[in-house]
Symmetry: C2
Subunit: 305 residues, 2 copies
């Protein structure tokens, strides 16, 4: 368990198989849940992998190929039947709103809660989400229809109070507040301890990036520079390079190249074509380019540390 | 195995559970497949229960609540990716066409095959399907939005040639044709055997009816009179009668009452509310009214004989 992690609900591509559901992931950051993409059957996967909706207030949809959103209306409807009351924010390509509103219309459904729609087209230069510790941004990928990647990054934190200071001087709450705000501390003996003495440097901010579906493009590495964990689609292996080119998807080697160029710490590949029964050749191909490459596996949770 | 059977792909209701997928069934009649309803995840169920699409040319959607159609666009899209070429006939409430066309539009998908749409509203007094041996009709049920049931019935066949006649006289092909067309037979010894002597009565035509979602209504028994197998929803047990009334669903006892009034041979109940972990109380309630009541179980195939 980490306070920043990602759980894979589906890692297959357009045609589901007995092994793989289409794309969906849950990012958990300090108790907040964020869903990325929502292929058909995602709500069944939520049940199977014991995920709850209680802290899910944001859903991000990368693009309008069905394997990335056909499960969304089912979740929207189930949340209604489960009597959700708090708003749900949905960030997706503009046209999705029409589809969802029409689906609710034809079934004569008036949701108990507010479904708040935000068009990704409007977020080229501003974050999708920002609070005191986390920012979520989108960036353009390269596919047959408009598609966006998502970057979750922690904000730069302040210096952290050193535990040994607490243990040694047992400061009261007012003293702690003052240190948090950048102050020092005067010991009972009158000794002045500077802020830098009783605090540790800020933890380096952590980050996660999601890139699917996309052909290789040099810009992707710029968008996800230095990311701790990078998910990048690799629909094909090298032998399917012509298909990757034709369908604007990536090979495992190309996904690894993005990870390398970005200086990512770790790469997860996914969006496997239904043609692969064994996925080892994909991850082996990636590792030849970028050693820290791994398969994304449905039901597994990956720490961002 | 029978040449007329029904396989249950999903028997849950609106909110999926770890046990149940939403409604979908496959009717198989002499090699032809017909799908009834198509809740989310139906294509995964098709894979799991080893159903193929090769002989599936007709899909019937009873109504536009999502648990009866959210899986349809996924199948339409997968058939496209699997390079289907032959047309697919879809019989559904009129508004579904708009939803599907919009979903194909936003993903910029032009199907390889022809998706032929037929509005159920236009079939009040003519069959949805009819060939030399099978007729499929729809009839109105009673729910919060327009909903149709479906009746599959064999046409009255002719008398059948008696096997013992074949064994005894080894007639040639012309003789057999003549008997099939109603003629008699002259034995080598010149004896005249009348048509009725060398044939057996026609087999009684078999039939299957699907009724979901619906409140109890007296007309349903009229529509499905004498059916061999009746599927009738029973979302609730008696203790949920007020909910059944409010939501225009049926209790198990009401489903059984329809079976009894219709003189059905056998009843399958389904569309179980997510509240039931154990379904036995539902089928026991039904059996108090109609002894030949059974649970519909996902993955099971029911013969219509």
């Amino acid at each position: 368990m980490s306070d920043f992690q990602m759980t894979v609900l589906g890692s297959g591509s357009a045609v589901p198989t007995s092994e793989h559901n289409p794309t969906s992931q849950i990012v958990l950051y300090k108790g907040k849940q964020f869903m990325i993409d929502c292929g058909e059957g995602t709500q069944m996967r939520m049940i199977r992998f014991k995920q709850k909706y209680r802290n899910l207030d944001h859903i991000f949809v990368s693009h309008l190929h069905g394997d990335h959103y056909y499960g969304l209306i089912g979740i929207i409807n189930s949340l209604h039947l489960m009597r959700r009351e708090k708003p749900l924010k949905l960030f997706a390509p503009k046209s999705l709103e029409k589809v969802l509103r029409l689906q609710l219309d034809v079934s004569n459904t008036r949701l108990n809660y507010s479904l708040q729609f935000y068009a990704l087209e409007d977020y080229n230069d501003k974050p999708l989400f920002s609070d005191h510790e986390l920012v979520i941004e989108c960036f353009p990928l390269k596919h047959s229809i408009p598609v966006w990647g998502f970057l979750f990054r922690e904000k730069e934190g302040g210096r952290r109070i050193d535990k040994t200071f607490i243990e040694q001087f047992n400061p009261d709450i007012e003293d702690i507040k003052s240190v948090v705000q950048g102050g020092g501390f005067i010991t009972p003996k009158g000794e002045v301890l500077a802020h830098e003495i009783i605090t540790l440097p800020a933890k380096p901010p952590r980050s996660y990036a999601f890139c699917s579906d996309t052909a290789y493009q040099t810009m992707t590495a710029e968008y996800v520079k230095g990311v701790d964990l990078l998910y990048h689609e690799s629909t094909f292996d090298q032998s399917g390079k012509h298909l990757a080119e034709k369908t604007l998807h990536s090979t495992a080697a190309q996904a690894a190249r993005v990870a390398m160029e970005a200086g990512a710490k770790k790469l997860l590949i996914g969006h496997y074509s239904a043609r692969y029964n064994e996925l080892e050749l994909l991850v082996e191909e990636a590792r030849e380019v970028f050693a820290e490459s791994y398969l994304s596996i449905e039901g597994e949770t990956y720490m961002i540390d």
